[in-house]
Amino acid sequence: MTLLITLLSAIAVTLVWYLNGKARRLGIGTLCLAFWGASLMWLVDAVAEYIREGENYFKPAGADMLNDAFLGLAVVALGLAAWVISVIVRDPDGVVRRRLKRHE
């Protein structure tokens, strides 16, 4: 589930990067590469687990699946939070700086 959620996020973010010029200017490409990197790493983990467990890999216990889904969502949230913080700190469009000047 973690792999699946991260992979879907990587695909979605890649499409946003391709279609949206403003998102590119805000550095969404870094988030995109981070999600792809994590997806590839978890893919290796998944293949190793499949080699160990065989077809049982595709029959996880409900509790494990739920925990993995929570983890996947937490990973996506962490990546998005890190990206939003980097946007605010770098402030490429000067939005934060303009707001600060208005209050001076």
Partner: protein, 135 residues
Amino acid sequence: MACFIAPAAEAVVTTVITKRLEKKEKAAEAAAGSENTEAKRLRFSDKLKWLNRMLWGGSALLAFEHIWHGEIVPWFPFLTRAADASDRAEMLTEIATNGIAMSLLITLVWGIMVAVTGRLEKSPAPEETEEEALS
């Protein structure tokens, strides 16, 4: 267990290489007089940054997963499996197998990205839209 250590180690090496290469490329461009020689082509150091971002980003998110599973702790030796000798051997085996495989796969994907973009750079790009020209 700690498989993300191998790609993280690769990330350290490739980041150092990127910094050095970037300096060299900028110096070469300055010596050539302008950045105009291959104005529309990305520097190799810029392409190396893609690899760095995949390695650092992936390692960071996998490290988070290990924290989630209680395999990384904020006290020495930081990795729970590193405390016991037999667990340590198992952990090192995983780093040597899964970790190296992760590094190789990411590097392979990056190589494909470089090859594809190399081909795209040679072919003429469609007209830029107004929005893209501004970004």
